[in-house]
């Protein structure tokens, strides 16, 4: 039987024994909201930063990870801290608004108390509030903005392009944007964005001669201070996503060219140099230690909602590295005080966007409603009701991915199923209906086809090892910033600290060791090879069919690998 939300609230209220009710907590939050969003003006250069909203125009729930492991140099360091470890590091109190904003702790109860997060109408109100006492402030968008919802996919990114213009985005860089194809990205740059939004990316060049595809950087004058914004697109776009969508573009980290670009901007008079990056936080931290002359890297990609910047020392001085989370949940505010051409001080705050604490901006809401109107019937189809929390984010299987791999195994009559280790995808609370929109939140991509492959045991091991190295290679420059491929049917042991090729052990299927020479029926989706175009029905159709049959989704059992070497790691809570 499934609980509805009111019943759930009642259960939670009983469980929260000892005084404070949920309502009084929210009342306190409401009173605190004025303080939360009252950020006094500081300095004369202000940068507002959003990243990785994944096309979530309306408020949603989003559970932060309970598994975000770091090893070697990254062990126990930001961003590889979860739950209590994160609270302790940043000095937040348990059960506080901040504890809910930045960690998974107490997720269900706190989400009921504080309500949904993000939404462009609420974000617009916050942006206006910040701009009100920050004349000349720029709004920077770190990318992964045009992908992640049904409406973005069906409108060919147009809903997000229009919303970003209305929000007042000044400069952006790219990742998933490129999966709409080279032509569409250039069309938006040259038509919709002309004279309004600059797309910057120093590391995207033509594959043949290495000519720049976008402006490497833009120079903006803010209150008399020249500020350079350099773009760093996701370096591994044609590897993590289909090469055929950007056949003529080459990416990569391009560290030397980054240094050249910084030097050029400085030579042209930039007093503040900021990199708008889609590298992922570990890559940004390494880059900050090696490239000189960057004042701040405003980062995304790895979806780490980090309340304070990491200060990285390097040969040129120091560089601030931030990461502003995902799904429209936060707005980063970086203020610099620039005096006599030099930065004299800074303030940084990552503001959580609580929809109930920020009234919706009327114009933005009207724009969103208009964009969604043609698709509402499809989006609102109720497929099932969930009894457990559904989420994706985490290094290994999340509950929503578990549903996807379970659906793949059943619908494709497969023994094993793989689902990509994406970090986007919203969360659902126990008792919530699962609408078609929610399935699309997990699956809406331009290469959604499902596949069934007869795969040898050896190949299965190769795939797991390959993805595992993208996640746990000790050198961040060799990491791609996604999570481990989600696995259904197959159990395995994972030792992230082992060498590449030896991390995956004891692969078992139905109690039997996987035979390297034997073939298995493996289902999957999101193939990157051009040959797999239109391989099978889009994944959302398959998952929707499965959910319609299930009707009431019991809490799913997570197929987690047995982890070796992760004991006492502050990046995991078990």
């Amino acid at each position: 039987m499934s609980m509805n939300r009111r019943e759930f609230l009642q259960v939670m209220a009983v469980a929260a024994a000892g005084g404070m009710t949920l309502h009084s907590e929210f009342a306190m939050a409401e009173k605190g909201a004025a303080k939360l969003y009252d950020l006094p003006k500081f300095g004369n250069v202000s940068l507002l930063h959003i990243t990785d909203c994944h096309a979530q125009l309306n408020p949603i729930y989003f559970r932060e990870p309970s598994v975000n492991l770091g090893f070697g140099d990254q062990f126990g360091k930001v961003p590889h801290l979860v739950g209590e470890h994160l609270l302790k590091h940043f000095g937040f109190k348990p059960n506080s608004l901040e504890a809910h904003a930045y960690t998974y702790l107490n997720f269900e109860k706190a989400a009921e108390t504080y309500g949904k997060v993000g939404g462009f109408a609420h974000l617009a109100t916050l942006v206006k509030r910040m701009k009100a006492n920050r004349p000349g402030a720029l709004l920077l968008d770190g990318g992964d903005t045009w992908q992640g919802s049904g409406t973005a996919l069906w409108s060919n990114a147009q809903d997000m392009v229009d919303a970003c213009k209305a929000l007042g985005v000044n400069v952006m860089t790219l990742h998933w944007e490129s999966t709409y194809g080279e032509e569409r990205v250039k069309e938006i740059e040259e038509k919709d964005f002309a004279g309004v939004v600059d797309i910057v990316a120093q590391n995207v060049k033509t594959a043949d001669f290495g000519d720049p595809v976008f402006k490497p950087y833009v120079m903006k004058n803010m209150n008399g201070v020249p500020v350079a914004i350099i773009g760093q697109a996701f370096p591994y776009t044609p590897i993590a996503n289909p090469r055929w969508q950007t056949p003529n573009w080459s990416f990569g980290i391009q560290e030397e060219n980054m240094q050249k670009t910084v030097d050029e901007a400085r030579a042209k008079g930039a007093q503040v140099v900021v990199v708008l990056s889609h590298n992922g936080m570990d890559v940004d931290l390494k880059m900050a230690s090696r490239v000189k002359g960057i004042d701040a890297i405003l980062g995304g990609h790895t979806h780490d909602g980090m309340p304070a910047p990491v200060v990285v020392k390097n040969a040129g001085g120091q560089t601030l590295v931030t990461n502003a989370g995902s799904n429209g949940k936060y707005l980063g505010v970086l203020d610099f005080d620039v005096r006599n051409g030099k930065i004299a001080g800074y303030r940084y705050k990552l503001l959580p966007v609580f929809a109930n604490l920020l009234p919706a901006d009327r114009d933005m809401q009207a724009l969103i409603d208009k964009a969604r109107a043609p698709y509402l019937a499809k989006l609102n189809e109720k497929l099932a009701v969930t009894e457990g929390t559904l989420y994706r984010r985490g290094n290994f299987n999340g509950t929503f991915d578990q549903v996807i791999v379970d659906a793949l195994i059943k619908e494709k009559d497969a023994e094993i199923a793989f689902s990509p280790g994406f970090r986007w995808g919203t969360s659902l609370l126990p008792g919530q209906p699962i609408l078609m929109e929610h399935v699309l939140d997990q699956t809406a991509i331009t290469y959604p086809w499902t596949t069934v492959t007869s795969m040898s045991g050896e190949m299965i091991k190769t795939i797991l090892e390959d993805v595992c190295d993208n996640l746990f290679n000790p050198d961040p420059y060799y990491q791609q910033g996604g999570d481990m491929v989600r696995v259904g049917g197959l159990q395995y042991t994972c030792n992230p600290t082992a060498k590449a090729g030896s991390r995956i052990q004891n692969m078992m299927l139905r109690g039997q060791l996987i035979d390297p020479a034997k073939n298995y029926r493996v289902a999957g989706w999101a193939p990157v090879a051009e040959e797999s175009k239109n391989a099978g029905e889009p994944i959302w159709e398959l998952v929707a069919r499965y959910l319609r049959d299930v009707k009431t989704l019991k809490p799913v059992e997570l197929n987690m690998p047995k982890l070796v070497g992760a004991n006492n790691n502050p990046g995991i809570a078990l």
Binding site: F234, G421, D466, Q480
Partner: protein, 155 residues
């Protein structure tokens, strides 16, 4: 973007381009053939390649730089470059440890040439890639790991 270069390449066939470059004196016919060392290109392993080239113990040098992607976008065409700041550099080669034949390219540099080459190599799997440089009668190396992955599953 420089569209001129692109149209020159599109209109001219590969052979025509080569003869143009030859006419311009950029490439001397037979230049590559003159130094072709079949045994070295046929060698399977790094050790055999060095042996075929008659090299015993090349030294790592900070004056030799190898550039390439950290992760290849396409294993079939991986851009790799080598530069040498060692005076009197006469030969530069690219070796890929895990390739079926380790020696991928060898360049002979006429006197006065800037020791800077760029090419595309094919890689089947993640491997250390070596730059091998000859200056005088000594050999120097630099190494970079280039990862070749299956792709997908990111972000």
């Amino acid at each position: 973007m420089n569209n001129q270069r692109r149209s020159v390449l599109k209109t001219g066939s590969g052979a025509a381009l080569l003869s143009m470059l030859a006419a311009a004196g950029l490439i001397k016919p037979g230049m590559a053939l003159a130094e072709w060392n079949k045994a070295a290109f046929d060698a399977k392993s790094m050790a055999d390649t060095l042996k075929a080239l008659g090299i015993s113990q090349p030294a790592d040098s900070k004056d030799v730089q190898i550039t390439g992607p950290d992760i290849a976008e396409n294993g079939a065409v991986v851009p790799v470059g080598v530069t040498s700041a060692i005076p009197g550099t006469t030969m530069m080669a690219i070796l890929i440890d895990k390739n079926p034949n380790a020696l991928a390219a060898s360049f002979t540099l006429p006197e006065g040439t800037e020791a800077n080459v760029q090419t595309r190599v094919k890689m089947g799997q993640t491997s250390n890639v070596y730059a091998l440089v000859k200056a005088g009668d000594k050999y120097y190396t630099a190494t970079k790991e280039i990862k070749v992955t299956l792709g997908g599953c990111g972000g």
